[in-house]
């Protein structure tokens, strides 16, 4: 087995660079360690946690099975409650819709609630091309935006930054975006948070249009839900005249009562709290309170592709809590950027291939392999997504996509080797012969003056004088 494996180049290469970044390693180990403990503590408080997880998974599965009906109902309720409903097949269509609404109100800036889906579609960049500034108002998003950086975590996009780095970004970059940071700013988290408060407040007070996502959309009532901590969400959902919410079609839940399950699962899994500071729900337009023009953009962008995947469709249950990232030993060491997507970590390793399809680009094809299959993600996932099984299924899809025709050079050697292995394991006689070669092989590996992916940091076991099966045969199972 040598350097030519399926999925070899992109994730491994990116991961290698990330592993060399000692500051990143330190920041991630600290942050993920903190959140793992917090989560474990509050989850242990809930007696029927496993039942809740089962219920969360069942509600989502049932919703996905009848998704058409729920979407049609959601649309009807939203319209009744005075909202405008748009449908977007892909990112470009969604971006056009949002930009169109902004232009119809002649606004040149919007404030944004943190939302994965608008990152997924690259909304900020699309709006910038139309001359519209999109201000991120979540603290971590602000850090990423000011730092001209990329998000590296679902919940805390700036998890790769520590307080000292955040202070530096605020001091250097805030002035260009509005109210500057005080020159005597320290790296005390409370001080950093209040600096963000002052910087953003002027933007909230003057904003005429806001863009949000939604954690849940209730089909039965047309209610949208945003779960947050800082109050920036409330600012965006309440103060501007126009509110546009971009909502992935998988965010729907059937009934308002279903929310109770998710409002118990999400905060404990996500920030390790019994409840997050703020949850806002709104149903269309409320006369005299909040935005009087409410738009909802229902987005596909690959979700129906994932939905069609029998094993993988469970990924659409995801409520973006990020628990799987926080416990993932791979994520903890390489961080989010190595996954090359706004959805990093274990969920990203399945969601990206499911939404984009495999067999087309090497980066996507590498993601299902970016896991040791340790199962820690599955254990914590509040909606019981069996990420390891989906990863293995996607690996098979990657291999299958390259079957027939000439395999690409990147996995030719592996494909040939696997064929050989298959033949060997088909017969114990052939295996017995191969084992003699293996013993020879480990002996050679010990003596080779070249590093292989295994031996450049690990010794190899000493080959035994005879295999177990040879011993059994020679001694009649130790009886002779």
């Amino acid at each position: 087995m040598t350097a030519t494996f399926v999925g070899m180049p992109p994730f491994p290469t990116a991961a290698r660079a990330a592993l060399e970044d000692t500051q990143l390693r330190h920041n991630l180990a600290h942050a993920t360690g903190t959140i793992r403990d917090k989560r474990a503590r509050v989850v242990a408080e809930v007696e029927d946690w496993e039942d809740l997880r089962t219920a969360g998974a069942a509600i989502k599965d049932a919703t996905l099975a009848n998704l058409e009906q729920h979407l049609v109902q959601l649309e009807a309720r939203l319209l009744e409650q005075g909202a405008v409903v748009h449908w977007a097949r892909d990112a470009a269509e969604a971006n056009r819709i949002v930009a169109g609404i902004a232009k119809s109100h002649a606004v040149d800036e919007v404030v944004k609630v943190k939302s994965m889906v608008t990152q997924e579609i690259g909304l900020n960049e699309a709006l910038a091309l139309e001359g519209i500034a999109a201000w991120e108002t979540d603290l971590a998003e602000l850090i990423v935006q000011l730092g001209d950086d990329l998000p590296s975590h679902i919940l805390v996009p700036a998890i790769h930054r520590n307080r000292a780095e955040i202070r530096q970004i605020f001091l250097e970059r805030m002035a260009a975006a509005g109210r500057p940071a005080p020159t005597d700013l320290t790296d005390d988290p409370a001080e950093l948070a209040s600096t963000a408060r002052l910087h953003l407040r002027e933007k909230f007070l003057r904003a005429r249009m806001a863009v949000s996502g939604a954690n849940f959309a209730v089909a039965e009532t047309g209610t949208l839900v945003v779960v947050e901590s800082e109050g920036n969400g409330r600012m965006c959902l309440t103060l501007p005249e126009v509110l546009v919410s971009v909502v992935g079609i998988e965010k729907v839940v059937p009934t308002f009562a279903d929310l109770d399950v998710f409002l118990r699962l999400l905060p404990r899994s996500s920030t390790g709290e019994r409840m997050n500071p703020y949850t806002s729900t709104w149903t269309g337009v409320t006369p005299g309170d909040g935005p009087q023009e409410v738009h909802v953009v229902l987005l596909d962008n690959g979700r129906t592709r994932a939905l069609a995947d029998e094993v993988g469709r469970q990924a659409l249950r995801c409520i973006r809590c990020s628990a799987c990232l926080n416990v993932c030993p791979v994520y903890e060491r390489v961080g989010g950027h190595a996954y090359g997507s706004v959805y990093p970590g274990p969920i990203g390793a399945i969601l990206n291939p499911l939404m984009h399809g495999v067999g087309e680009d090497a980066q996507t094809d590498s993601l299902p392999y970016a896991s040791s299959l340790c199962g820690a993600c599955y254990e914590v996932c509040p909606v019981k997504i069996d990420i390891p099984s989906v990863l293995v299924d996607l690996r098979a899809q990657v291999v299958d996509a390259h079957r027939g025709g000439v395999p690409p050079v990147t996995h030719l050697a592996e494909a040939v080797a696997m064929k050989g292995v298959a033949a060997t394991f088909g017969s114990s006689r052939r295996l017995g012969f191969a084992e003699r070669l293996v013993r020879l092989g480990t002996g050679v590996a010990q003596r080779l003056p070249v590093a292989t992916p295994w031996t450049n940091a690990r010794d190899v076991p000493k080959g035994p004088p005879e295999s177990f099966r040879a011993w059994w045969k020679r001694t009649d199972g130790g009886r002779r």
Partner: protein, 263 residues
Amino acid sequence: MRVALQVTCINDALFPDTGKAMVTLLRRLGVDVEFPAGQTCCGQPMVNTGYLDEAVPALRSFVDAFGGYDAIVTPSGSCAGSARHQHQIVARRSGDAGLVAAVEKTAPRVFELTEFLVDQLGVTDVGASFPHAVTYHPTCHSLRMLGVGDRPRMLLEQVRGLRLVDLPAAEECCGFGGTFAMKNADTSIAMGSDKARHVRETGAEILVAGDNSCLMHIGGLLSRQRSGVRTMHLAEILASTEAAPPTVAPLSVEPVETRGLAL
């Protein structure tokens, strides 16, 4: 009850002492374990790399070899997990109804060693003696895929003379992950280095686990670091008695020979 040993391909080729320890241990407990010579591999290396069709021949030899047995015992949480959770996926995909039916029989009869001892035989004191400081790494597949829980600890606690030292961050993956160790070698090594560091912190003389594949990875790192910590499979410790202590060399992994390089 007819009991078969599924030694696993890696133990067969590289760690035969583990297989021999299984035989010694099970016989001592009155189980006349057999070794069906037709066995090869559970197919997991292929399945976890995405080569499902290539796993079919291995699966066929698995059901042929083990079809007639009441219990199939294996010194590997990972291979037991593969048999119980992946075999049916491979069989269904092959479209061979006979294979599906055969797997239906074998899959639920596969037991990892500690499950077999504690649940099937009902023993935790296996009469072992091993006077050393030992730390235990629960491998991911035994911990999370099979849910062996504290069975290994229950068994280790009954071993005469053994001092069990807690491993910090024990439940975190060592980074082996089958072909992950090669495809994502850098990440695998980063994970393994932390595991090795935790092992060294315990001051234990021996790291024990229920899977030689993970031990080969962690042990390879410990050996490269000249850490003075050796790895051993749980079966070898449980097989050990005062009269017959294990005969393995102090280090079961050998340093890479770099004499060829005049550095």
